[in-house]
């Protein structure tokens, strides 16, 4: 569904992604793993065209999306949940969801505000509160819900478990499992294996912007030396 082929990305003069290639097949949860600074967020942003790759192709549903503006990428069905959440803090929960709203899309589940409040019951209670009044975990749920309002067929989750309480992380894992069962494809970035183990089918590991492992979760689990070499404990 999504193929990343030989992508190079830069921040200023810093070469962050080096000939990065991997793919995310339809209906799978792919975990993009790597240490802090390995280039995970840049990969996400490069897919979303928030960072424009200098070379390489990113093919989504048969179309090369490199060079498109971010809003067109989103309109094609790619949903992006940023690492730093970027909740609109002056807007209420409901208004945040309204910003994300897009028309229903063929081949992707359609979400309404009520369905998302069922999925994230904590948000339902706080629908009238401003974004800045929410806890970290609630903000994380809100960013996911906001992106789902766009009815994506593919969702990019940048470190969803970072900085949230363990009980929320568990809830997040259930949500991801549910998204998968609804037919969504998920690309999820994480620093360690714990959370990914619970949800991922496939694993891509990057180190300094270079892809160092690409395989199934089961394979990786059979080779702990790879995990030890490239991932945080």
């Amino acid at each position: 569904m999504l193929e990343v082929e030989g992508v190079n990305s830069f921040y200023g003069k810093a070469h962050v992604l080096r000939d990065l290639s991997f793919e995310a097949p339809r209906g799978h949860v792919v975990a993009l793993l790597g240490r802090n600074g390995a280039g995970k967020s840049t990969t996400m942003k490069s897919i979303m065209q928030l960072v424009r790759p200098a070379s390489g192709r990113i093919v989504f549903q048969g179309t090369d999306i490199v060079g498109l503006p971010a809003h067109k990428v989103a309109k094609m069905g790619l949903g992006y949940v940023p690492e730093d959440r970027r909740v609109f803090t002056d807007l209420t929960v409901s208004e945040n969801l309204l910003v994300g709203r897009q028309p229903p899309r063929d081949g992707a589940p359609t979400w309404t505000e009520d369905m998302l409040f069922d999925l994230f019951p904590n948000l339902a209670e706080r629908r009238g509160n401003r974004g800045k009044a929410l806890s970290g975990g609630e903000q994380q749920m809100l960013t996911i819900a906001r992106t789902l309002m766009g009815n994506p067929s593919f969702i990019l989750l940048d470190e969803p478990s970072e900085g949230v309480a363990p009980v929320i992380v568990e809830q997040m894992a259930q949500v991801i499992a549910q998204l998968k069962s609804e037919g969504l494809t998920v690309l999820l970035s994480e620093q360690n294996l714990h959370f990914a183990q619970a949800v991922a089918d496939l694993v891509v590991i990057i180190e300094s912007g270079v892809q160092v492992y690409h395989g199934t979760l089961a394979d990786l689990q059979a080779h702990p030396e790879i995990r030890d070499a490239y991932l945080a404990a």
Partner: protein, 626 residues
């Protein structure tokens, strides 16, 4: 008591247009981060277009219809401006778009002159609202009553739109993080255009609505700009209720000011603004502006390098050419070059503040004009010898800068810029209205240099020595430890403080020094012309300097000087034509669109792209920019 009520009602009626224009400015700034200097011009267009429509359309329907249509027409003009002028420069360094909007001001000024002629136009009375209502015995024009009744409804409608419609929610979201709004599938380009159109339409509506009270003239673009900036800043950038409240405060205050202290109406407004900002730095309902928030674009800074041997040789050759000018240039060339030299120093002083210090001052004319006036007043009132007055002028300007800087440096970003503008306007209105001392509109005349300097060639050398000396001093400072500290404070205030730099002190020093150098330029100016008028303190003069610095290139040391030379040279040629503003405006817009990093920056980029030593990272940077 009756009179008091009548005054308040008049103030409320006057607040109407001010609120609409301020609201538009605030909306546009919130979403696009552009301080639209051309907003007053859109207001002026609204008035003229409304007038033309009212002549064509008779009756009640015609009158009110014309006002609405004028708003729509100006909204459409806003769309054209946004798409043709601003869209190409959204990704340019912050505030560069200011220059483009200044080009728009010039173009609109001449277009209005071309279409509607130079005469002031009286606005038609609103049909059926010709007389007055008696309220507690006081006559209040009927139109005023209608205005003060409909304004809250317009405000409510806008508020409803911003809080209850998806468009309004998107606008508010984009105000905070426009990149994220884009990543959620909203086309920012159209959101920007839409907001610009709406803001423009509000300005046009404001212009048309005040017709029966004020008519239309070619100066109204700048006349409204100052109070509108004041209102937006007092209310808080981006806040609708703030703009409404502030418009009322300023208008009511103005009405009372006219009655009780007519000599200080202009000053009053700025005093209120300064007091509000001292207590609430981000306005009554404003939110703190955090530099580098999401959605702000800006390429990493190029480190500033000392000039290479080659560049030094070129500069030395240029200086030699200048020094020899009296041998081959005529009298005219000498006078023009003296003007350019003075302007270069003025621009370089602002560039120092803006480029190295990251402090965007919208009111740098305060020090240039301030220096000129200090010298002139010393000569006029105390018969100070010219040499002494010349030396005291920059000190006086520096003193003004210390005070202004001390107050303004509590703020950052656009609030800082607005407050510096307010102080400059305060000084201007002081000079303008304190006729006994300053001569007001008649200025100060017969301020000639000492006998030994009273010759164009000698004065040229005098100006050359001080301008080049000043510019080299500023340049030298950039490479001194003080310059490093200043740049550190600009790039990361916190980190600079953590390394032991007292950033506030460093910035205040820089502000003072820039004021000192601006004052030196002003002193050179006043003795070269023999006179000074309040327009040397005006917004326009501050804008000239800003344009020059941005056109030259903020991030390059030579930017200010190159821009000043270019600007003055072009201006000298163009002002010989009747519609020079139109040509100048179009030229400015052209430069902005073609060279979004300024003249020096763009030349340098072209050299890097096509010259030797070209790398893949450069290509990546280029492509991301385009």
């Amino acid at each position: 008591m009756e009179f008091f009520v009548a005054q308040i009602l008049t103030g409320l009626a006057n607040a109407s247009s001010l609120f609409l224009v301020a609201c538009g400015l605030s909306l546009i700034f919130g979403v696009t981060r552009i301080v639209n200097f051309a907003h007053g011009s859109l207001y002026m267009l609204g008035a003229y277009i409304g007038l033309t429509l009212m002549e064509a359309l008779p009756g009640h329907f015609g009158f009110w219809g014309s006002i609405l249509l004028a708003g729509i027409a100006v909204g459409l003009i806003g769309v054209v401006i946004e798409m043709l002028v601003l869209r190409p420069v959204y990704r340019a360094p912050e505030l560069f778009q200011l220059v483009a909007t200044f080009g728009v001001i010039l173009v609109i000024q001449d277009l209005a002159l071309l279409i509607w002629g130079p005469e002031d136009q009286l606005g038609p009375r609103a049909p059926g609202l010709r007389g007055v209502f008696r309220i507690m015995g006081e006559p209040i024009p009927k139109y005023d009553i209608v205005l003060l009744i409909i304004t809250p409804f317009i405000a409510l409608a806008l508020w409803w739109m911003m809080t209850r419609t998806r468009l309004g929610v998107l606008v508010r979201a984009a105000t905070q993080d426009r990149e994220m709004v884009g990543a959620l599938g909203v086309n920012q380009a159209w959101l920007f255009t839409g907001v610009f159109a709406l803001g423009s339409a509000l300005a046009g509506l404001g212009g048309a609505l005040q017709l029966p009270k004020g008519g239309a003239d070619l100066l109204m673009d700048f006349t409204i700009l100052t109070p509108v900036f004041v209102v937006v800043v007092i209310g808080g950038m981006g806040s609708l209720p703030g703009a409404y409240l502030a418009a009322i405060i300023i208008s009511v205050l103005n009405v009372f000011g006219v009655t009780y202290i007519p000599q200080s109406t202009l000053v009053l407004m700025f005093i209120v603004m300064i007091v509000v900002l001292m207590i609430r730095p981000y306005g009554l309902f404003g939110r703190e502006e955090v530099a580098g928030e999401h959605g702000q674009v800006g390429e990493p800074e190029e480190p500033i390098k000392p000039a290479s041997a080659k560049v030094r040789a070129i500069v030395a050759a240029g200086l030699a050419m200048l020094a020899l000018l009296p041998l081959y240039g005529g009298n005219f060339a000498l006078v023009l070059t003296t003007d350019i030299l003075i302007f270069c120093l003025f621009a370089a002083s602002l560039h120092f503040l803006l480029g190295l210090g990251g402090m965007v001052s919208f009111g740098h004319a305060a020090y240039y004009g301030g220096g000129a006036y200090v010298a002139a007043l010393l000569v006029t009132w105390t018969e100070t010898p010219m040499e002494l007055a010349f030396l005291l002028a920059p000190l006086g300007a520096g003193l003004i800068a210390i005070v202004v800087g001390w107050v303004c440096l509590r703020l950052t970003g656009v609030y800082f810029a607005m407050l510096t503008l307010a102080f400059a306007q305060l000084l201007w209105s002081l000079v303008w209205q304190w006729q006994e001392v300053t001569g007001g509109d008649d200025g100060q005349v017969n301020i000639w240099p000492a006998d030994w300097l009273n010759d164009n060639t000698v004065y040229f050398y005098f100006a050359l020595i001080f301008s080049v000396g000043g510019i080299l001093t500023l340049r030298h400072l950039a490479h001194s430890p003080f310059g490093y500290a200043l740049r550190a404070a600009r790039d990361s205030k916190r980190q600079a403080e953590a390394t032991g730099i007292d950033t506030r002190r460093v910035q205040l020093l820089a502000f003072t020094f820039a004021g000192f150098m601006g004052g030196l330029a002003g002193a050179l100016f006043v003795f070269s012309k023999g006179s000074v008028f309040p327009n040397e303190l005006e917004i326009v003069r501050s804008f000239d300097a800003l344009i020059v610095v941005f056109l030259g290139g903020v991030k390059t040391l030579a930017g200010g000087v190159v821009g000043a030379g270019f600007f003055k040279g072009v201006e000298d040629v163009l002002t010989r034509f009747e519609y020079w503003r139109l040509v100048m405006g179009l030229l400015i817009i052209f430069v902005v669109v073609v060279a979004p990093e300024g003249i020096v920056g763009s030349l340098r980029r072209a050299w890097r792209r096509f010259g030797p030593g070209h790398s893949q990272a450069d290509t990546a940077t280029e492509e991301r920019r385009t």
